[in-house]
């Protein structure tokens, strides 16, 4: 990514070339074996917490809120909070039994117009690559591209079943997991949106003209994470040895100390 040649001190790992999952796209009686690879990676700058005194990383401990003691992993169970402070305990085996079994299939139910799908439901995209199935893969790709369609279906990844879309993107089939309907809030629940005054035709004409004037082609590359770039540049600078000092206001009790420090430094330098 364009970052003025600076190092990229972000913790985000490069997108792995290793599949996280292998299975088949199943359309009726047709099977297309594919590998599923991650293609989204979050480029956030992540920091570790350090102890200010000695610069050493902190570690977390799970502490019981009652006896304040550290609880070892083997003594930890999962609880669902039924109401504030009231839990139902679910054992490991009970949870495992409820988990969906993955049959390693991406089951396609139907084909839909790709552009008709509300992007709000899009969750996370994965790259599909052919698994000794190049011909079938390419055939599905071209058919979807020609018709502007996407394949809608479902898949079980790890322990969760997702609605998914398979669509085309830059020569590849991409699988995007979708959110369930009840995971997205319905705006009609908001009273603030009810009974808004309808604008006059003149007002609407002006608004439409403004939109037209500002209409252009969308290019995601026009948008950059300024904060991330500034922090990245700051870290790169520090790595080159340029130290950025926070100038703290000197408190009264430290004034003599600071004066002494400067005089001693001067004295030691002369030696």
């Amino acid at each position: 990514m364009a970052n003025d040649g600076d190092v990229e001190p972000y913790s985000a790992q490069k997108a792995s070339k290793r599949p996280i999952w292998t299975g088949t796209i199943t359309i009726g009686l047709v099977n297309i074996p594919v590998r599923v690879l991650p293609m989204i990676f979050d480029k956030e700058v992540t920091f570790r917490f350090l102890h200010k005194e000695d610069g050493q990383p902190l570690r977390y401990q799970r502490i019981c809120t009652k006896d304040e003691k550290v609880v070892p992993w083997e003594d930890i169970v999962k609880g669902y909070e039924v109401s504030k402070g009231e839990f139902v305990v679910l054992g490991k085996e009970e949870l495992a039994a409820a988990r969906p079994e993955s049959d390693r299939r991406i089951r396609i139910d139907k084909f839909v117009d790709y552009l008709s799908i509300e992007p709000i439901y899009f969750e996370r995209s994965y790259l599909l690559t052919p698994d000794k199935s190049g011909d079938a893969y390419r055939l599905l790709y071209l058919a979807l591209e020609k018709m502007g369609k996407a394949a809608a279906g479902r898949v079980t990844l790890r322990t969760k079943e997702y609605p998914v879309l398979i669509h085309v993107y830059k020569g590849a089939l991409v699988m995007t997991t979708l959110r369930y309907a009840d995971e997205v809030r319905d705006p009609s629940a908001f009273k603030e949106l009810e009974g808004l005054r309808e604008p006059s035709k003149g007002e609407l004409d002006i608004a439409v003209r403004i939109v037209k004037d500002l209409t252009g082609d969308f290019d995601i590359r026009e948008y950059r994470d300024g904060y991330r770039e500034r922090v990245g540049a700051l870290i790169a600078k520090k790595m080159k040895g340029e130290r950025i000092r926070e100038e703290k206001p000197v408190r009264e009790e430290a004034k003599e100390l600071m004066a002494a420090l400067q005089e001693t430094l001067e004295q030691l330098r002369k030696k």
């Binding site: 000695d54 003599e256 600071m258």
Partner: protein
């Protein structure tokens, strides 16, 4: 974030370390900053034993020989096997102002140094006469013994450098040309002590004779590998914030009292250093000819 001029970030500056005098950590740091030009040369390359008082000198302090977890990478350490505790000790070596400030910021009050340096740990470059009075004998008797010792050393062509221990005793240090073993140095000190004991009835030269009220022990036992003496200008963990103060022999002749040298008085005093030439004044020790 560190302060300008040092890699050390000062923390809890307002923490009171000497309760009775209201001396804060800021003051302790200021003391070690002011004294750094005098302390640093003699501490150089010496693996230190430290006494820290994070809760102030009114509370129990603790000795620290091992570099603690979180020792910054720029602090030099020296690993040596300790026979007494049967494991490796990773000593801190204070070779610069930043390390000194880092130590002081950890509420290090006392710094104890060996009589040898890390590169030749088994070969002493300092000889120590640790003059320790047993009550009711006190600093006056210790000073008297030190003055007798000065003449005795003079007979041998040696020049000693005195300092207060910061408690009741007096230390006399002779910088020597490296060569003699600790054992040879120790025997030398013991023999000189025996000579003093013959001349002055209250002086004791044997460990077994100590604890006799009113006597002064010329302790030779610290002249051993890994043993330490409190560093010159080190603060002591006493309620009155005393200092192990290097002195001129003239000061001893005029007489001193234990309360003369404290953090506050030394900080106010002139910056002259009676030990300034000590490291350049290495003397050749003729060992092996001092019998009874």
């Amino acid at each position: 974030m560190p302060q300008a001029g040092t890699r050390v970030e000062f923390t809890n500056l307002e923490k009171v370390l000497f309760e009775e005098l209201g001396i804060t950590k800021a003051k302790v740091l200021e003391y070690y900053v002011r004294k750094a030009p005098q302390i640093l040369p003699i501490l150089k390359e010496r693996p230190l034993s430290l006494k820290r008082y994070p809760d102030g000198v009114g509370k129990a302090g603790f000795y620290e020989k091992n570099a603690p977890l979180g020792t910054p990478p720029w602090v030099k350490t020296f690993r040596v096997h300790s026979d007494s505790v049967e494991r490796d000790v990773n000593y801190i070596v204070c070779n610069g102002l930043d390390t000194l400030l880092w130590l002081a910021n950890l509420a290090t009050i006392e710094m104890h140094m060996p009589l040898s340096t890390a590169d030749q740990y088994g070969k002493p470059d300092l000889m120590l006469f640790d003059i320790d009075p047993e009550p009711p004998a006190g600093i006056a008797e210790a000073v008297g013994t030190a003055l007798l010792l000065k003449d005795k050393l003079g007979d041998e062509g040696l020049r000693g450098y005195p300092k207060t221990s910061g408690k009741k005793g007096v230390h006399v240090v002779v910088p020597i040309v490296r060569g003699p073993t600790f054992k040879e140095v120790r025997e030398f000190v013991r023999d000189v002590g025996k000579g003093l004991a013959r001349e002055a009835g209250f002086v004791r030269s044997e460990f077994s004779q100590t604890k006799e009220p009113g006597t002064v022990f010329v302790d030779y036992l610290q002249n051993a590998k890994g043993k330490t003496m409190v560093a010159p200008y080190s603060l002591r963990g006493t309620l009155s914030a005393t200092v192990s103060m290097p002195l001129e022999w003239e000061d001893l002749r005029k007489g001193i009292s234990p309360g003369d040298f404290t953090l506050l008085s030394v900080l106010k005093g002139a910056g002259r250093d009676p030990w300034a030439d000590l490291l350049e004044d290495r003397q050749r020790l003729e060992t092996g000819r001092h019998g009874e």
